[in-house]
Symmetry: C2
Subunit: 323 residues, 2 copies
């Protein structure tokens, strides 16, 4: 493939100049960015590989949506405001129809969340997408995994288990009706980064993480970094209506605990800030589910109606779960 | 492959905390970085695909060296100071021996250029490496492609053509003796980002670019962005001794003009700053070769001893140049 074709591709990704803080975007050796004074820069990079993190033949608009949304979720998990992103796109060939669709999906999400594409690289190879997002956060306000303390309450921002359900549907392990199919596909390809809620939580929540590996694994990351334990009350873990309609509770909760790909936030709030949290919930500025508490000890303990249960957390399953 | 294996891999990439400006490195949803006040952030992302940008069976230490050095060259082309980098590593399997070698090569370069690994992602898939480098530069001091003016003189910092020669050796199109082999392999896997010279050039050079696609293509990028033309005097273009020993001038200059992978800087200096440049050369703070000038018009014109010659610039050839 000639270089020229890739140069053509890159034109799909040139945006109008003028995004906030961009002194130089696509088109030079580096992008030049002005980080607002007094703000910390939050950066996160995620790679999505065709055939592993999404089906290779998926609609390119949806692949792009998923890739950028998943990355934005990492900014949400930090309480950071999206500013800029870079794109490393590796393609088996210069299919302009594919690239057009991909760029449309990408800019739709970029516009929705007000994040500007400022650079990247386009290469030939097996289909793979690496995105790095850049956001800003006031020093000391970021929601860190390591900030949880014994006695904090544990919350999630919405239903978990949809990611695993969607994966089962995509892998044709489960048959579902049209409306459930659409619901899960929408969840899979268009996960909602919880940026707005995260911003509201800054100053109230202590630790936070986005649920990408499953509730137990991700809450486990908070425990590990904070050197604490956690108790989860399974009967309080919110499942979506389509999940509860589709499978028994045991399956649904298994999905929620170990499925991943949910992109809700799991966060902790110290007792002293519970009244602030409740006020924000009353004002409908937050939607939260109180699912557990931080304890002394290590790791995540699961209780069902007060009795300890052992959970087979086989961890995150990729779209292609070989190996 | 289980997630656990990739978590093990990621441990190879955890560095001690304490690098300049890193409030949070590897281990949370985002890295948190403090950009020094009054500095612009320069970022650049490059993807290197196994079998395309390097032989898949190459020594992982060398693959890592090349990947980071090539990215650092983009900071040099901007006159930026290296600060932090992120790594997106896609591997076909969790071969800890390979990863150990890769991390050793990576940190050797990181330590040499004082750049800290602050985050990234490790996934399963075809071998591919995406690195984003982050540097700082004083506003208004960056060396931009679009800053060249008619009458500027054109320079390179060192010999060009080594990249193409190395590629020919790797592809076994050329047989060479042991010392030339080592010279070209060293150039290919351990290109020298011209960071020190770039820093010295800030305030003297106007436009700059690093030579990754070949001298004509890269000087052409300066012309395009600056809306000017350029004249190159081929007899002044520096070739390395191993290249001049190996092939006739015609082949060597072809490599220099259209080969790429050289990672020298091509830059322009206005007549008013030529005496400053010469003083720095006399002080041995710069090593430069005066190869042409910026003109009215469009594109790059090549002269050989004053006569216009037409050059077949077939552009950059990847390691695997199929397609």
């Amino acid at each position: 493939m000639a270089v020229g074709e890739f140069e053509l591709i890159e034109r799909y990704f040139r945006q109008e100049a003028g995004a906030l803080g961009v002194a130089m975007g696509v088109g030079d050796d580096c992008a030049l960015l002005n980080v607002p004074e007094g703000q910390q820069l939050a950066v996160s990079m995620d790679t999505l590989v065709g055939g592993i993190h999404f089906p290779k033949n998926a609609d390119p608009e949806l692949i792009a949506e998923r890739a950028l949304r998943v990355n934005l979720s990492d900014l949400a998990a930090m309480g950071a405001e999206p500013m800029w992103f870079t794109l490393g796109l590796t393609l088996p060939n210069a299919n302009s129809q594919w690239v057009k669709g991909f760029s449309q999906g990408l800019f739709r999400v970029a516009n929705e969340y007000n994040i500007a594409l400022v650079g990247g690289d386009t290469t030939r190879g097996h289909l793979s997408i690496t995105i790095q997002v850049h956001g800003t956060v006031e020093p000391g306000r970021a929601l860190m995994r390591g900030n949880a303390s014994v006695g904090d309450e544990v919350f999630v921002t919405g239903p978990v288990g949809n990611g695993a359900a969607a994966l089962a549907v995509i892998k044709q392990e489960l048959e579902v009706g049209k409306s459930a199919f659409n619901y899960f596909m929408d969840h899979y390809y268009r996960p909602q980064p919880q940026l707005q809620q995260a911003k509201t939580l800054c100053g109230i929540a202590e630790a936070a993480i986005d649920i990408s590996d499953g509730l137990v694994a991700d809450l486990g990351h908070i425990c590990e970094q904070s050197v604490v334990g956690a108790t989860l009350h399974l009967e309080r873990v919110p499942l979506s209506e389509p999940v509860t309609k589709l499978v028994p509770f045991e399956k649904g909760i298994q999905w929620a605990l170990s499925g991943g790909d949910d992109y809700q936030l799991c966060f902790t709030v110290p007792p002293s800030r519970m009244s602030q949290l409740e006020a924000l919930v009353d004002q409908k500025r937050l939607q939260v589910h109180h699912i557990g508490e931080i304890t002394r000890g290590k790791g995540v303990t699961c209780l069902y109606n007060g009795e300890e249960v052992s959970i087979n957390t086989e961890g995150y399953q990729h779209f292609d779960s070989k190996g």
